[in-house]
Amino acid sequence: MSAFFKSLKNDKALWFMVLPGTLWFLIFCYLPMFGTIIAFKDFKIHRDGFFASVLNSEWVGIDNFKFLFSTEDAYLITRNTILYNVALIFLGLVLAVTIAIALNELVNKRMAKVYQTAMFMPYFLSWVIIGFFTFSFLSVDKGILNQIIVFFGGDPVSWYADSRFWPFIIIFMGIWKSIGYSSVVYLAAIAGIDKSYYEAAMIDGASKWQQIKYITLPLLKPLMIILTILAIGGIFRSDFGLFYQIPRDSGAIYSVTNVIDTYIYRSMSTTGNLGMSTAAGLYQSVVGFILVMLTNYIVKKISKENAIF
């Protein structure tokens, strides 16, 4: 404890700076976490308000979690969620860094700005609207792709019923929408790199490739690691719209488009139940938490500097 008071005294200013944020987290995040216990309750309304409702509701143990594991779909949705996330995290990382470096290297900076702005545009469109456009490409009778296929003498494909294509479509669309946003972070990090590193490298005769390999990438590494660790925390969650709006909720391709979030959504469609949805969220959080702790532990073993805590 004495170490604590010593820190309070010595790092007064730092404590002062961390305080507002801490308060915010307490009020807006930690305080509401109280509500998580309804995941273990059969939630009933009590006339004296929410707390009375929570306290008076009956404990049901893990009953609210069962629907997540009750059928063989449990394996399928877990597999899909993890595989898509692994692909999206990995490709997202590689492409975001590549694009950031490439944009940074373009000779004409005005073009770089134009490209960068353009890549940001999909971020502004909701999945509903993007779904609308993918449909115009993939529709059986009027879709552009099928018209092209027919023009070249092929047979039209019923895209929304053929599961072979969807892993690629989903991953492409996921990356396409988010890449502008995620590459900004790396662009900023590159912009923050001290120019003298490159000057020194040039004097030593380092090639562009060597500069990227020995200066840019190592300096981006902490950011890549932290973003990856954080992304792993969300490995049991997915961007709902990507898996629901883009495949148009087509049953024929559930085997490759159903993920935990869409499963939960469909489960709740007629029996919306606060306890069950809270339970589902808690399950996703706990798994993500365990995975992050593990990753963070491994990172810490390798390089202490890059771990989150």
Binding site: L26, I45, D141, R266
Partner: protein, 495 residues
């Protein structure tokens, strides 16, 4: 170790704060102020009411008028909050779960579900209150409204007097009926429809959709679906023994799916029907037939906004289902500070012609003008700033008519309601709590197979067995058994 410490700290912090919060939450008892006594001896009270629909600009203006009137009648004023169609259910879920006090909320089978609200204790049972303060309302209603919406013998919502029965119809674009001189008076079943579709497909260009339906399409089958028509759990319409069956294993379904498959392969439906959320047929006019739920003078109601003539032919006789009786109701919250007054107000709303029209059409001279005693014409202000959804605001039979509406509109509604017979599970409310895991699982299976199967998009020979198998694995039989059990118990109490 650090982590463990952090966790403990976080937990302690949370607990401290929640204690603080609990102290905060319980100070919302109604304030009672002594003011001049009201002739009725009632203390002044403000009723908090939630309604569905887009918020209207002139609501406060109209509320001023309403309050003058209700103040005089029952010494209560009204505070109405409206939530948009798409937001209403979510908002009400949050408000009720958070325990925020209010008095009255719009409820139905399709939003802010009265069964959910009754099951989790949000709404008050209204049997006694209705007997005490709602006699006139009760007298004006077809008794089946109240009978059908009871849960375990208790009424949880005051129903709006409107259409009670439900009847599916085939709608037709009259242009083509005239062109090919088709007679639809005998078209009821899918098979009856087939020759007509065939003619259209053969003679009209490809952009005319013969049967313009979307993924929610279901062929009409003689079943009373206990958990909604997305889940294949039903009781035969003419059932004597009240046996709950798996609809997927019935010959009627098999036959319908074969027909639908034929339709699909013949190109009567859009090829992507299984993934279509909706279809713009009314707007484009490029369609021949679709399906819809009807009500008296519905053809007129459809034709007017479409700008061309639409006619219809029934698929079956009208039935009264629980969900059709519960199309529009008002519930009273357990958090209400004065439930008696809430019921007094609802009674007034359902029996007082002046109040009922005021809340629906706004202020005479501002929002509408009277043409005759019972007929009005909208003024521009109505469309701009006071367009209320009439069916959600109490007894429809009291409302004024528009010049283009038939004078016997409400009589026709009464007749329609009288002609409707009760479906076998009418009045039975299934409590899914004991099988919630299985219901969640079969919901998923339903979304996977039902749209594709029922629209004929896939071969039923292959996919019906597949779907049946998967439904069973998800626990369909267990759910059916539970439904049967509860249904039998319910029937026993009815005798």
């Amino acid at each position: 170790m650090k982590v463990k410490k952090s966790l403990t700290l976080a937990l302690v912090g949370t607990m401290l704060f929640s204690g603080l919060l609990a102290g905060c939450g319980s100070n919302n008892k109604t304030k009672e102020e002594a003011t001049t006594a009201h002739p009725s001896g009632l203390k002044p009270y403000e009723l908090k009411m939630y309604l569905i629909g887009g918020p209207q600009k002139d609501l406060n203006l109209v509320l001023g008028e309403i309050n003058k009137y209700t103040k005089e009648k029952i010494n209560a004023t009204l505070d109405i909050t409206m939530f948009d169609w798409g937001d209403y259910d979510k908002k009400m879920q949050v408000i009720t779960a958070s325990g925020e006090p209010y008095d009255i909320a719009f409820t139905a089978s399709w939003t802010n579900d009265f069964r959910r609200n009754a099951a989790n204790g949000t709404f008050m049972g209204l049997n006694d209150l209705l007997d005490k303060y709602g006699k006139e309302t009760k007298a004006a209603l077809d008794p089946r409204f109240l009978e059908g919406t009871k849960i375990k013998g208790e009424i949880y919502g005051v129903p709006v007097n409107k259409e009670l029965g439900q009847q599916w119809v085939w709608r037709f674009n009259k242009k083509y009926l005239d062109k090919y001189k088709m007679d639809i008076s005998n078209v009821r079943t899918l098979e009856d429809l087939e020759p007509l579709l065939k003619t259209i497909k053969a003679s009209e260009p490809g952009n005319i959709t013969p049967l313009a339906v979307a993924k929610n399409y279901k062929p009409y089958l003689p079943f009373d679906y206990v958990l909604g028509d997305e889940l294949p759990i039903g009781v035969y319409m003419d059932s004597k023994d009240g046996k709950v069956v798996n609809v997927l294993e019935t010959p009627e379904l098999e036959q319908s799916l074969d027909t639908m498959r034929r339709f699909y392969q013949a190109g009567y439906l859009r090829p992507d029907v299984a993934t279509l959320d909706g279809i713009d047929n009314i707007k484009t006019g490029q369609w021949f037939a679709d399906r819809e739920i009807t009500q008296p003078y519905a053809d007129k109601g459809w034709s007017r906004p479409a700008g061309y003539e639409i006619v219809s032919s029934p698929m079956h006789d009208p039935y009264v289902y629980t969900q059709s009786a519960a199309g529009s109701m008002h519930g009273i919250s357990v958090t209400s500070g004065d439930p008696d007054r809430a019921m007094m107000f609802l009674n007034l709303l359902n029996t007082d012609k002046y109040l009922r029209n005021l809340i629906n059409y706004g202020i005479e001279g501002t929002h509408y003008k009277k043409i005759s005693e019972n007929v009005i014409e909208d003024l521009p202000a109505m469309k701009d700033s006071y367009a209320m959804p009439g069916f959600s605001l109490g007894n429809m039979y009291l409302t004024y008519l528009h010049a283009d509406e038939p004078a016997d509109k409400w009589d026709a509604f009464k007749k329609f309601n009288d002609s409707a017979t009760e479906a076998p599970t009418f009045g039975f409310a299934f409590d899914s709590t004991p099988v919630k895991t299985e219901v969640a699982a079969i919901n998923n299976v339903s979304k996977e197979f039902i749209p594709a199967l029922f629209t004929g998009s896939v071969d039923p020979k292959v996919y019906l067995p597949k779907a049946t198998k998967k439904f069973k694995e998800a626990g369909l039989d267990k759910v059916i058994a539970e439904v049967q059990k509860q249904f039998d118990e319910w029937k026993a109490t009815k005798k």
